[in-house]
């Protein structure tokens, strides 16, 4: 379940995707960081300058499937990244599929 914690003093936000132990932190850019577990799954997202940099996060069945982020909210760079290959594929599917 997606949870948010917000540090108002330093304007940093953390989106917790699921429980787990951080094995590696991937630096996406100078304000966005992905914490990953030993399987490489993203378990948390840290956003610096959170009042300016907005992130849209989608999770399915407890796993991250998509992150879309906009730098400086009212403009700036925009990125899109899909995760969870199988679940993400099902969610974008245009055909009926049983999800195991």
């Amino acid at each position: 379940m997606l949870k948010v914690t917000y540090d108002t003093e330093v304007d940093a936000k953390y989106v917790s995707v699921k429980d787990g132990k951080i094995k590696e932190t991937k630096i996406i850019n100078d304000w966005l960081f992905f914490d990953c577990d030993d399987k490489g799954d993203v378990i948390g997202i840290e956003i610096l300058d959170a009042s300016k940099n907005h992130v849209t996060v989608s999770a399915f069945d407890g796993d991250l499937v998509n992150v879309n982020f906009v730098e400086n909210a009212s403009g700036g760079a925009s990125y899109n990244k899909d995760f969870g290959e199988q679940k993400g594929k099902y969610l974008r599917s245009n055909k009926a599929a049983v999800l195991a």
Binding site: V4, V15, T56, V57, A73, S93, V98, A100
Partner: protein, 162 residues
């Protein structure tokens, strides 16, 4: 333009209404929104539903292009209207068993002196576990202690056709 942001987010906005529909159109000039084919019920064939084995499958993904529209409004807190107001919003799809199937987290932003904010999410499909009552729960992040507070619920009934 003021860039003051408030930390007491939940006190400053409310969800006035929300619906599911197949399509919507926003009139930029008048800032009105038109809703087409409002959805309150999905009918699933028994053949498809029977493919789902409880305990083995998490559900069945059915093509169903639909949009969720929620209209938020600032509450009348003196001094807030002229400031930028942002809030973290979560839309959760909850199945008949109470399981959270999917979640979408995003930040909405009210520009100064703008009272309402229409939030639209497009979905390409719908994950069905079984027949019953599903809910799209709209919640807003309050603070680190309380977490998300439910603001609004949009029900969707899934029925078996044969």
């Amino acid at each position: 333009m003021s860039t003051i942001e408030t930390n007491k987010r939940h006190l400053n906005i409310k969800a006035m209404w929300g619906v599911l529909c197949t399509m919507s159109s926003i009139d930029q000039k008048r800032n009105n929104i038109s809703l087409f084919n409002v959805i309150t019920q999905l009918n699933m064939s028994g053949t498809d539903l029977d493919k789902v084995v409880p305990g083995k499958h998490k559900g069945i993904v059915m093509t169903s292009n639909h949009e969720l529209i929620v209209m938020f409004r600032r509450l009348g807190v003196p001094g807030i209207e002229s400031a930028v107001l942002s809030a973290d919003i979560k839309i959760s799809l909850v199945g008949p068993s109470g399981d959270v199937i999917r979640e979408d987290l995003s930040t909405i932003k009210f520009e100064p002196n703008i009272q309402t904010h229409g939030h639209r999410i497009s979905y390409e499909n719908f994950v069905v576990q079984s027949t019953g009552l599903y809910e799209y729960r709209v919640s807003v992040f309050e603070d680190n202690t309380t977490g998300f507070i439910d603001l609004y619920t949009i029900p969707l009934s899934v029925e078996r056709t044969n």
